[in-house]
């Protein structure tokens, strides 16, 4: 046990160092130029962080899921885009680790992730599905020599051009229904990306997520054995919402820290007189506490439910509602905290070049409610609430 605790602590310390020494000094340039955070991702590779969650028997570090979540928080405090790239990669790794079901191809692949620190992006959104990840148009299509192909129009592929490999949702076959989906992992040399659109967004600019027409040629064993609907409820959706919300909490926490630094600086200028913004900071702390409580309780519930045999609880509607609610609550609360921090810092927070700037924080967290649109999640919840008993 203590070995595992030490390993987790050492990993987290290394990520914390990268956040401070690499992500933070590059964050402004990454944001301004909407460029990929190459330095941070390289530093994470050097620490073998991309395979941190891969079990030790497959060459990874075998750190706990809680530690991965904490790493997302740490990175989020210094560079939201770096944290999002790291989080999205880990979502793919966690999904594969939890659902490879002993498949030899995927075990060998995870060894490659560890050896070569390969970066995985996901292609889940698709033109023509109205934002519903539970439906696909593109299909695993048999081709010559026992191989397969697919062609998928993706409106966004986060860091698609910088990824080594892609994890893609597809219909099981050309005749399958839209909801009969599987996940296929394709390697860089099997993929062609045809850019479709540009990337000049309001926030999370370093994730570099334009659209692509994705084509791939691959072998049938590159399809994950577990069907996507099960992977989705047991892992991909809750893990996404948990890791995203950890990094949103990280961004909001840094915005709060900047607001606190601003109030402290004001207090020092006029000793004995509480600055007028001090009370606002107290209000802001309450808002941040709500966010932190929601994020940490969701993580604890997920870890708890994951340890049950068969992960039965995760496949219930109650669990779906729980983690959907995390997404909605955290994605709305994080920008609220950032805006509150701007209210405390005033013009010093509004300007992009002061120690109290929180514009990037606000812009980055405003992406949260759009990443899987909250209104779509509300529609799903509204339907589930008709039948779920205890929520």
């Amino acid at each position: 046990m203590s070995v595992a605790v030490d390993r987790d602590a050492a990993f987290l310390a290394a990520v914390g160092r990268i956040a401070e020494e690499v992500a933070a000094p590059n964050a402004e340039d990454v944001d301004r130029r909407a460029r990929f955070p190459v330095e941070t991702i390289q530093a994470l590779r050097d620490e073998r962080a991309l395979s941190a969650f891969v079990p030790t028997e497959l060459g990874g570090a075998g750190v706990s899921f809680e530690t991965i979540a904490a790493a997302c928080f740490q990175l989020g405090r210094r560079c939201g885009a770096s944290a999002m790239v790291f989080a999205m990669h880990q979502i793919q790794v966690v999904t594969i680790v939890r659902h490879l079901d002993g498949a030899p191809w995927f075990e060998a692949y995870l060894r490659d992730v560890a050896d070569e620190q390969r970066l995985i992006a996901s292609v889940t959104s698709e033109v023509g599905t109205g934002g519903d990840m539970g439906r696909s148009v593109a299909a695993v299509t048999p081709a010559g020599a026992g191989g397969c192909t697919f062609e998928k129009r993706a409106p966004t592929v986060s860091y698609g051009e910088h990824a080594d490999d892609l994890l893609t949702t597809l219909r099981r076959g050309p005749d399958a229904e839209p909801g009969d989906q599987v996940l296929a992992l394709t390697r860089k040399e099997q993929i062609t990306l045809e850019p479709a659109g540009t990337w000049d967004p309001l926030g999370m600019r370093g994730t570099c997520s334009p659209g692509f027409l994705v084509r791939a040629e691959f072998m049938p064993e590159q399809v994950l054995p577990t069907p996507f609907p099960r992977v989705s409820v047991e892992s991909m959706v809750p893990v996404s919402h948990i890791l995203w919300s950890h990094l949103w909490l990280g961004i909001a926490t840094d915005a709060f820290d900047r607001a606190r630094a601003f109030v402290r600086a004001a207090a020092k200028q006029k000793p004995g007189q509480p600055p007028p913004t001090a009370a606002r900071l107290s209000h802001l702390m309450s808002e941040l506490s709500l966010l932190r409580a929601e994020v940490s309780s969701a993580l604890a519930e997920f870890v708890d439910a994951s340890q049950e045999p068969g992960r039965e609880r995760l496949s219930t509607m109650a669990a779906t509602l729980r983690f959907n609610n995390l997404k909605i609550a955290a994605s709305e609360q994080a920008p609220r905290v950032c805006q509150g921090a701007m209210g405390v810092c005033g013009i010093m927070g509004f300007k992009n070049d002061t120690p109290f700037s929180v514009g990037r924080h606000l812009r980055d967290t405003m992406s949260a409610s759009l990443m899987v649109a909250n209104e779509r999640i509300h529609q799903t919840n509204a339907s589930l609430l008709l039948i779920a008993k205890e929520v």
Partner: protein, 82 residues
């Protein structure tokens, strides 16, 4: 009971295929039942058999086939008293 389940699926699952052609163990989701449609199936089942599915049963695997739905209803004692 199976006939009633079939009727409810026919009325509410909005399958693109003919329900009478489906085997009792055929996967309804693979046959095209969406998550949203499955909620309507659950509501209709609760109404028809006068039961409430507890939360532990409200998951995909319980509603994925006519056979699994029948097993769930049996567990809730439907048909035992009748």
């Amino acid at each position: 009971m199976t006939d009633e389940i079939r009727r409810i699926i026919n009325d509410h699952a909005r399958l693109p295929v003919d329900i009478s052609a489906l085997a009792v163990d055929a996967d309804l989701y693979q046959a095209g039942m969406t998550s949203h449609a499955s909620v309507n199936v659950m509501l209709a089942l609760e109404d028809c058999f006068d039961v409430e599915f507890p939360d532990r049963m409200l998951k995909r695997s319980v509603f994925e086939s006519i056979a699994s739905i029948a097993a769930a209803l049996a567990e809730l004692q439907v048909g035992v008293a009748a």
